[in-house]
Amino acid sequence: MKAMLLDRPAPIEQKPLRRADIPLPEPGTGEILIKVGACGVCHTDLHTAEGDLPLPVLPMVPGHQIVGRVEKAGPNTHRFWIQDRVGVTWFFAGCGSCNFCAQERENLCSKALFTGYHVNGGYAEYMVVPEESAFLISELFSDAHATPLLCGGVIGYRALRLSEIKPGQRLGLYGFGNSAHVVIQVAVKMDCRVHVFTRSLRHQKLAEELGPRGLGQPRRPLSNLLTPRSFLRPRARLSLKHCERLTREAPWLWPGSQ
């Protein structure tokens, strides 16, 4: 099958991804084979291609916002029919036995595997994934239009959920790209007052376009568009070393702590 393969990371200007023909993967126990219809491009893919993240496996196929149809199911699968249209996210699999996995906080599992990072992803014609890490995609969305939901959208949604924001409260979005353009619509639906901070004129325009949608009667002009520079000007010092030491030594700051 056709794939874009990363042999060795390099600055993207040097085109580190190479078109390659690689064997069609076979779904193992509990896995499904997906015929990729579209795969979103994420900033994490750029970090991967350029080697900003340590790469555990090379060569490797990046891509983790995948929409496609179930082509084949491996042994011991039961969630989908062949030809179901599903989406795959960055989260590929957890160990399944640690405390985090047991508490539905598998995102913090120290042995978690990520799509297009530890295992081949969606910059290809096909990919395999555990069926429990695939999700039905509504027919409302085309393959391509569903892709931003699967990483930028989900991580933004998680951030919104963890913020515990309530209807009527204010939300500030710093930067406005793939993630924020999904989250703003969830926040507006929740009747939150959204403020967007972005320098890009195109992004400002998109924020204004998407912001008031879904809100019948906006209570006030939705977006206060300021430059981050004018808003975030550091004046004094809080030593990063202190923060680092705290996060290393203080149990209440371990991953997942409040």
């Binding site: 874009m4 509504s138 391509a144």
Partner: protein, 73 residues
């Protein structure tokens, strides 16, 4: 990964909370996909042939994309 810039302590004083997010859970994905269909969420996506992956990643690096981009095999 870049370092987080310093800021004035007064920005965090007053029992303000900062928190980070790491990856996502299956529950997050299932919930967002349900909510996205209910709203329904409109996404902005430019599409490119799979072979142009290097070019699209470069466009992303140079902030030349409006929002989402997808590769079509």
């Amino acid at each position: 990964m870049s370092r987080i810039p310093e800021f004035d302590y007064s920005l965090i004083y007053g029992e303000r909370t900062m928190r980070s997010v790491a990856n996502t859970t299956r529950r997050d994905a299932a919930e967002l996909l349900r909510v996205a269909a209910e709203i329904p969420i409109r996404t902005v996506v430019e599409t490119f042939p799979l072979e142009e992956a290097n070019t699209v990643l470069r466009m992303m690096k140079e902030s030349a994309l409006q929002a989402g981009a997808a590769l079509i095999p």
